[in-house]
């Protein structure tokens, strides 16, 4: 769709919305309890860019003429339209796009977005109310209430519509989610409709009790995040506006505006927090899954490698024995070569067996990630800690994560580092499980020492027995009944493959085991230098 077409459509929508929401105005002016146009405008200017603001001025001006017949005269309305267009263009120019989008998925941006909307709406309200005041259309006695009404109306419109309009086109996942949970959505829609009808319909027209609206709002926000919350706020708003079309002229409106505003902000914040948590959880799960896959692969690789080594030894002996037998064999008759030939065949078969093992080992060696950095060791610690934190809490382990404010990047691969850390922290958790509930302690710490980053995993468990020390990092060596004894062997191999090291000592702080990882600090390899020598 061309931008001009969009702009034309925008102008029509603007005027149309102004006409629909032109309820309960102050003195036939454009001061109405709810201004969805403001939200559409912010979305429009963020999307196409602030230089399309003249269309906003045009739309605002047209609305004044068509909907209200320009009660304050042409000049003040032209001035007010330009002011509003300028205000929202400035808002769009100030990088609101990222903010409005992120407001849907994280609490921090949601709060900032609310503050920005409040400020921009205030500036716009001052412009509009000021111009009609100067024109003499609005008496000074009504200045403050007019300002408040316009202001809240615009905030409401922006908060409710701008994030929705900006985010909806790119959220096919939201539609899929809706498809999966449509029965819940239907029930929620019914509850909202019922609540709106009860509160704003004709059934009980005197007492307005708004609080019940918060129940479905919270339900929806928790279930669907910001998008659902904003949609339900929109539905409630529409119900409110429709019911207000018929109410008497001088109904108190600030309370309804405030209700609407509170509902929207509640939905936005709650939804953003919910979405943020859900996303963090799914990211953690994805990370967990990746770690598990990488770990399985590493286990298979270690198995293949150990198997190759373990079997290669007897095969080596076998081949050498056979070759020795061939030398020792003195045929009785020169014609009888059968034993010699058979020994030769046996040797050949033994070598073939060794070949099979080689291929198995090659398969697992060649396919592992070969990256070495840069990686953020502190982020790896934090990620693993976060991942295991719920389990540690359940098991009554007092865990502590100590990270310095700054750590240089290390040479290594993030997944591999996390795999090693996950392994060590899980081991530590198992190690302290035998302690009394108060004595289960665990410490994960990273620090910089000269040119290496040291990460230690310490626990208050029994530690490693003196006699078990020599075999500690050997494969198939375990004290766990359900373990394969590959974790530490793999961890050390992974560390060494990245140029690091994994060592054990007794923990000075907690008295149990202390595993220490050392990473070289990442340095940019002068890769062209090596080629230079060859040339």
């Amino acid at each position: 769709m061309s931008r001009w077409l969009i702009s034309a459509l925008y102008v029509c929508v603007y005027v149309g919305l102004d006409w629909i929401t032109y309820v309960q105005p102050v003195l036939q002016l454009g001061i109405t309890p709810w201004s969805p146009q403001a939200g559409v405008t912010v979305a429009y200017l963020v999307w196409l860019g602030p230089r399309w603001a003249p269309f906003t001025a045009l739309a605002a001006f047209l609305a004044e003429i068509i909907v209200r017949d320009a009660p304050a005269g042409w000049a003040p309305h032209a001035l007010a339209s330009l002011w509003i267009a300028g205000t929202y263009a400035a808002l769009a120019a100030a990088g609101t796009q990222a903010l409005a989008r992120n407001a849907l998925v994280a609490l921090g941006p949601a709060v900032r977005f609310v503050l920005v909307a409040v400020l921009a709406a205030l500036v716009a309200a001052i412009g509009y109310v000021g111009s009609v005041l100067l024109a003499g259309t609005l008496p000074w006695s009504a200045a403050m209430s007019g300002l408040a009404r316009y202001w809240i109306g615009d905030i409401n419109g922006i908060l409710m519509l701008a994030p929705l309009l900006l985010a909806l086109p790119g959220r096919s996942d939201a539609w899929r989610a809706l498809g999966a949970g449509w029965t819940v959505a239907l029930a929620q829609a019914a509850v909202v409709a019922l609540a709106v009808w009860l509160l704003f319909g004709d059934a009980f027209d005197q007492e307005r009790m708004f609080y019940p609206l918060f129940v479905p709002m919270i339900w929806i926000a928790v279930r669907w995040g910001v998008v659902g919350a904003l949609l339900s706020a929109l539905a409630m708003q529409v119900g409110m506006v429709l019911s207000l079309r018929d109410t008497p002229f001088d109904a108190p409106l600030l309370d309804l505006q405030m209700l609407s505003l509170t509902l929207t902000i509640t939905g936005l914040m709650l939804g953003a927090a919910v979405t943020e948590r859900a996303r963090a959880r799914s990211e953690a799960q994805e990370r967990d899954r990746q770690l598990a896959i990488a770990m399985r692969f590493a286990v298979a690789g270690e198995m293949a490698s150990s198997l190759t080594h373990e079997l290669n030894q007897p095969i080596t002996a076998l081949v050498s024995y056979l070759q020795a037998s061939q030398i020792m064999y003195q045929p009785a008759a020169a014609s009888d070569q059968r034993l010699s030939q058979t020994l030769g065949k046996a040797t050949h078969e033994a070598i073939r067996a060794a070949e099979v093992l080689r291929r198995l080992r090659d398969f697992y060696q060649g396919t592992g990630p070969q990256v070495s950095g840069p990686a953020d060791a502190a982020a790896c610690c934090a990620s693993v800690y976060e991942l295991l934190e719920p389990r540690m809490r359940r098991q009554g382990i007092r865990a502590q994560l100590v990270l310095p404010a700054h750590l240089p990047p290390v040479a290594g691969d993030r997944t591999q580092i996390e795999m090693v850390l996950h392994n060590l922290v899980s081991n530590a958790m198992d190690a302290v499980a035998g302690n009394a509930r108060g004595g289960r302690e665990l410490l994960l710490e990273a620090r910089l020492q000269g040119d290496t980053v040291h990460v230690t995993v310490q626990d208050s468990g029994p530690g490693v027995a003196e006699e078990a020390m020599p075999q500690l990092f050997e494969p198939f060596n375990t004290t766990k009944s359900d373990g394969m004894g590959l974790g530490l062997a793999i961890s050390r191999n992974l560390m060494r493959a990245q140029g690091g090291e994994l060592t054990y000592k007794r923990s000075a702080q907690l008295g149990g085991a202390c595993f220490e990882l050392c990473f070289p600090v990442f340095k940019q390899e002068p890769s062209h230098a090596a080629h230079g020598v060859l040339r």
Binding site: Q313, I315, T316, V319, S320, A324, Q471
Partner: protein, 203 residues
């Protein structure tokens, strides 16, 4: 001391099989179950070749090689590697291993490599013996004679040597003939060779 194959491997069957093969191929061999036992038993007069497994519990073949370099042991090192120990093997070769052989071992390759390693060691040992003899003879020189020898080795004429040491050219001649006698040399050219091979340049 007969050249011997010193064989280190943690696996008893491999030790037995390879040493059997070695004896059949006419090598003297001595086996060790670990790098540590080898280091404990090692005598400086041992000649031949060290054949060691790369991957062992405790000290690895690479560790052993490093330790030997540290101790100034010149015995050539041949590594037995498993396929896939590429990185470690490369490292070992870079720090001066004589060669490496993949397991399972092909007897022809094994014999070839060990022969050339033993020859290499014998040659290095022979050179070392000559050097040692030269060193011993140089030690017989008096400090003054050594000064003359050093200047002579730098290619200086008698009168320059005399001027530098504050003696007469005639005395230099005397020193030279004494040097020839003490160093067991028939002529001055031989003296020059012995000095250049053995005497460190003047500080």
């Amino acid at each position: 001391m007969q050249p011997t194959v010193y064989f280190v491997d943690d696996d008893a069957a491999v030790r037995d099989a390879i040493s059997l093969l070695l004896s059949l191929k006419g090598f003297l061999s001595q086996v060790f179950a670990s790098a540590e036992t080898f280091l404990e038993t090692y005598r400086p007069e041992w000649r031949g070749v060290l054949l060691t497994d790369l991957r062992m519990p405790g000290m690895s073949g690479l560790d052993l090689q490093r330790e030997l370099i540290q101790r100034g042991v010149t015995l050539p090192v041949v590594l037995l590697t498993a396929h896939g120990d590429v990185g470690t093997t490369r490292e070992a070769m870079k720090s001066g291993a004589f060669d490496f052989i993949e397991k399972p071992v092909d007897d022809a390759v094994l014999v070839d490599v060990l022969r050339s390693a033993i020859n290499h060691d014998a040659e290095a040992h022979r050179v070392e013996i000559v050097k040692q003899a030269h060193r011993e003879r140089i030690d017989r020189l008096t400090p003054r004679e050594r000064d003359v020898a050093r200047l002579f080795a730098q290619g200086k004429q008698n009168r320059h040597i005399a001027a530098e040491l504050g003696i007469s050219p005639r005395t230099v001649e005397v020193y030279k003939s004494r040097m020839m006698e003490k160093l067991d040399c028939r002529n001055l050219a031989e003296v020059l060779r012995v000095i250049q091979e053995t005497l460190p340049p003047a500080s």
